[in-house]
């Protein structure tokens, strides 16, 4: 099997990788299919083997809830890490814009394996911290950009037209 090592299993040996992957079940999400919805119980972590998963959040647009893209993930990436973090509820919705093959790893199976193999659990936890940390930093920067614009707009409204001190 030609398989790129998932980001969550980085630095694991080939044997460890195979052992972790053996805990999961391969699934195919059809094009346009839903992997999970916002608020669903998160009991499985997903590794994308092939295809793409789009993570969205609902936004109220003209009185209707519309899914707005938050992140696009491709092969080798992990989605659904809410399965490893209390309260084990998905905080995003995930859909497949094209037919996508994933490996679903049950939380309980992972927890038992990590308990028996703490070195592997440590490596996976570090990799998970990278994934979570990257998203946190990305959204921190996006939030500050939006805040900056809100402040500029507010300052302009107070000062009146032609008094934008922020360039």
């Amino acid at each position: 099997m030609i398989y790129e090592r998932p980001e969550l299993l980085k630095d694991l040996t080939a044997e460890e990788t195979q052992e972790v992957l053996a805990l999961g079940t391969k699934m195919t999400v059809p094009s346009g299919g839903s992997l999970f919805r916002l608020g669903d119980p998160a009991d499985r972590l997903y590794l994308i083997e092939r295809g793409q998963i789009t993570l969205t959040l609902p936004m109220r647009v003209r009185g209707k809830d519309q899914d707005v893209i938050v992140e696009e993930t491709t092969s080798g990436q992990a989605v659904g890490w809410s399965a490893l973090i209390p309260p084990y509820k998905f905080t995003l919705a995930a859909t497949a814009p094209l037919e996508t093959v994933i490996i679903a790893l049950p939380r309980e199976a992972l927890r038992k394996y990590f308990a028996a193999n703490p070195a592997v659990g440590y490596k996976v936890t570090l990799n998970l911290a990278v994934v979570v940390g990257h998203r946190l930093q990305l959204f921190q920067a996006m939030w500050l950009r939006e805040m900056q614009r809100t402040v500029e707009k507010h300052a302009t409204q107070i000062a009146g037209p032609g008094h934008n001190d922020y360039g």
Binding site: Q66, I69, V70, F139, M142, R145, Q148, R149
Partner: protein, 107 residues
């Protein structure tokens, strides 16, 4: 002389009657022209905008953007903002953090 005075008086009387009749006949026109006078200040208010084409645009009625187009714009905005945020993470600096994008929601 008496004839001349009588004809003059009759002419003046006829002229007065004609003037009154003309005034009565043209009264509605006078009121509509008064309305036009009332509208003139509004017309003057937008007149300066006509000097430059881009200044006239805000006074025009806004065009309806279909929801699909709006959603595509939101999608585009998110992608651009993520790319800008990613650039900041790769080389953190104040300038990188506030890089302008071409998103229609900001410009």
């Amino acid at each position: 002389m008496e004839m001349f005075l009588m004809v003059s008086c009759m002419s003046m009387l006829a002229l007065a009657v004609t003037a009154i009749a003309f005034g009565a006949a043209t009264r509605p026109e006078k009121s509509s022209s008064a309305d036009q006078l009332e509208l003139r200040p509004a017309a003057k208010a937008v007149a300066p905008g006509r000097f430059f084409v881009d200044q006239v645009l805000p006074s025009q009625p806004q065009t309806y953007v279909p929801t699909e187009v709006l959603l595509a714009q939101i999608d585009h905005h998110v992608r651009l903002e993520q790319a800008a945020a990613q650039s900041f993470l790769e080389a953190p600096s104040h300038t990188q953090l506030h890089t302008k994008t071409t998103t229609p929601f900001v410009n």
